[in-house]
Symmetry: C2
Subunit: 478 residues, 2 copies
């Protein structure tokens, strides 16, 4: 309903905005961007893509046959949508397999917990690991322990993840999952259990990558209610809590993953490349609908709308469905295998990459835009804001420091990033759980995403704004 109301506002203001003399973008481009935006609100290509992807391929663990098959399907879809230079680029990947995981309380109150193994974690011995739990309310309390303090114990961290629209609560707790097992092992622990990095109180446990390598221990995430249960147990008795851990997880095969690439070639400045996309791999629990079927579908659908325009954009827009965003890997590379491969194998082309971004935060509506440093006081920014404001998208003056996880290696190579920020208030209710399925996606919010992406990309691809030059010219406003 909210979007429908906004759309009325759009119709009333479109012409006046397009004619506004303060905008340096040509009036035609602005009108086209508005048309793209409004068309996207009645388009359902993104939802159809994520529906087909999640139904046909289910979970798409990096390096699995399912991820590989979904990449072939993706390339076929790119060709059907009329994209140029469609390709699949493969890279090697160690395949991690979850196997079985069980954690139970042995005493004082025997009962099973609802857990998952962390991605990249290792197996226990076949007989499992038994030990007394060393339970910490916060991760810092664990870090404050001296070496040897946890000898023979199972380290348990109950710290909760704070809910926030921009996901900063997850950012704050992610070291608990990524590094916690190493920090626990360093202090003598034989196993590790954390409260899932989730913002709900239902019995879903959240997986997610943990660091791989020598010096770690088998690691699990329990559901939030199980962490609450442990807390109550501690409050009800002075007896120590003893647990048993069991897991058969591990790296089981040499495999490969792949990036799926397609473009709408520019006319006029075809060598100036804007890279967008999402990641095609998902965790093996759900069907990767919000993480990140939504992102691959939103960005491809936006590009399809641009492909369908009567004229080509000036710059080239490239969509990449990244392979292997989720999983960690044995040293030295710890993750983002697809994004690293892309940037490393194109180190000579990075100078032609004018902007990069990713859609990897679910399917909630976009509420703000970050541009690279120096772009706030430009006509391009004003044009973008004129076109995006009716969708409920604010301009956030903080410069974008990245465009999403898979943009990391490209950004590190000097490519400017922008972000269309999605409302992730509920994202960590579902993220990395079995519940990440199509039912979690609101098609209307998805259309709003496509509208914002398509309109913004049209402006950017038809602009001569150079974020790399601007970066040096202005002080960030915050």
């Amino acid at each position: 309903m909210r979007l429908s109301v906004r759309l009325l506002a759009v119709s009333a203001t479109a012409l006046s905005l397009a004619a506004a003399p303060a905008l340096a973008q040509d009036a035609r481009t602005l009108r086209e961007a508005e048309q793209l935006r409004d068309r996207a609100l009645h388009d359902n290509v993104a939802y159809e893509l994520v529906e087909e992807l999640t139904t046909r391929f289910g979970p798409r663990l990096a390096g699995s046959a399912s991820e590989q098959a979904s990449a072939r399907w993706g390339a076929d879809r790119f060709r059907e949508m009329g994209f140029d230079n469609v390709s699949i680029e493969e890279f090697p990947l160690a395949l991690w397999t979850r196997g079985e995981a069980r954690v139970e309380i042995l005493s004082p109150f025997p009962q099973p917990l609802q857990v998952v193994a962390l991605g990249g974690s290792m197996a226990t011995p076949a007989e499992g690991i038994e030990g007394e739990a060393a339970i910490f309310e916060t991760y810092q309390q664990l870090l404050d322990q001296p070496e040897g303090a946890l000898a023979g114990k199972i380290a348990v961290v109950l710290q909760d993840t704070v809910q926030a629209q921009d996901g900063r609560g997850y950012g704050a707790t992610s070291p608990i999952r990524g590094n916690g097992p190493f920090e626990a092992a360093k202090r003598g622990a034989v196993g590790y259990v954390l409260r899932s990095l989730g913002t709900h109180d239902h019995r879903f446990a959240h997986t997610g990558a943990t660091r791989v390598g020598e010096g770690t221990v088998p690691a699990f995430a329990m559901s939030p209610p199980d962490a609450d249960q442990l807390r109550r147990m501690v409050a009800m008795t002075d007896q120590p809590v003893r647990m048993r851990l069991f897991s058969t997880a591990g790296f089981t095969a040499d495999s490969h993953s792949q990036n799926v690439i397609g473009e709408v070639r520019g006319s006029g400045a075809a060598d100036e490349v804007i890279v967008i996309g999402g990641h095609l791999d998902s965790w093996d629990l759900g069907t990767g609908a919000i993480d990140d079927g939504a992102g691959v579908a939103i960005t491809a659908a936006a590009l399809k709308l641009i492909e369908d325009m009567p004229r080509r954009p000036r710059r080239t827009i490239r969509v990449v469905w990244w392979g292997s965003e989720e999983v960690s890997q044995p040293s030295p590379a710890q993750g983002l295998a697809g994004a690293r491969f892309y940037a490393q194998s194109r180190s000579g082309e990075m100078a032609n990459h004018v902007a990069v971004s990713e859609s990897d935060f679910g399917a909630g509506p976009i509420y703000s835009l970050n541009l690279p440093a120096g772009a706030a006081d430009t006509d391009f920014r004003r044009a973008a804001q004129a076109v995006l404001t009716p969708l409920g998208v604010l301009f956030d003056p903080a410069p974008a420091t990245g465009g999403g996880p898979d943009t990391g290696p490209t950004v590190a190579a000097g490519v400017p990033a922008f972000r269309l920020n999605q409302d992730g208030t509920d994202y960590f209710d579902t993220h990395h759980t079995v519940d990440d399925v199509l039912d979690r996606i609101d098609p209307e919010a998805m259309d709003q995403n496509v509208a914002a992406w398509a309109a913004f990309l049209w402006l950017l691809a038809n602009s001569d704004v150079d974020f790399r030059t601007l970066r040096g010219t202005a002080t960030p406003t915050n």
Copy 2:
């Protein structure tokens, strides 16, 4: 908030109600009932009981060591609360064990489904069962199949459970779980998968009893989103859906379950017994917080408030924490082993049972009261309504035909039933899933339950209303 507002209304009207000349109940009893009600709204005994029960014992599968231990704890609690004649009565029970369950789609779109085995269901062969799915939108479509029509196939029923405040949607679909595997087997099927009897779209699968005996097949419930996924799969392709089922479920040991019994003995008419309670056993997935830790806690807490009154009630009030409500059993007895044992071993005492009811529908607020036939036009009903109306409890003129599952055998022996109906709109979101944990309980709604039970019981136990006599005197009003 709603309860707080009502409570203000109570304080303002209590005296005038108590003095109303149309009520045959003595004014003192009415005032005491109102005091009990208002005291219960600030009492937290029920929540503390269910908190301790679910934390100490976790899942309490009928016949398990955990159920048995929880019964011993329950008897101790009854004694601590000052109840009379506390006892544990054991009865034999075949122990069913879930083991492991897996269901996967083999083609056209290979992927695992989120499933649980139905309670009482049997194992597959060790290599599993493979077959083509015969998929039915409704259970009736399966029943309409002739014998042999499903030969070698896996029967799949996608029918949804309708959400309703009084749970009638569950009532309508429960034969799909109870009898479906037999009906499928009769038509040649080798396995059975139903859409969980759940009213949500999250990835929780719901267990629950299915009939045991010769002529059935291994049976599973998939989560609602998995049923949606199958439906999409069928829509996307003309290829048959092939599945593999695997389960190690079965009856594994001779064990026992037990009823836990306590009373507040009456003075004046101690031999007239009112029986209330809930069931102590739960499914093995969650910790049985709403099903039925809530009910055992609500009824015991109500009785504790009565125990704490300065005078004894006229009639005896007995609380029974029933054993083994959930599980089905091999023939001839199919279930309700605790309730059957109670009624059968007391067949000579049924004439002294003046009323029976149970709290077994979660922890939502009570919204209506059903009395036995003939009770609508009595001063007792008017008194009950006067005391319960400020809690938001309506009088439902339809006569109560039962008081909850465990009252069945007692009601069959001629004992009149009443019901304090809880709002179960969300009950089947959680019922029989791993998510049935303490986090699902709203303590405030629980207090309202205790208030309604305590006040109603006080009126009933101090009344001379005889529902057995009334039953013959009036035509049901609907």
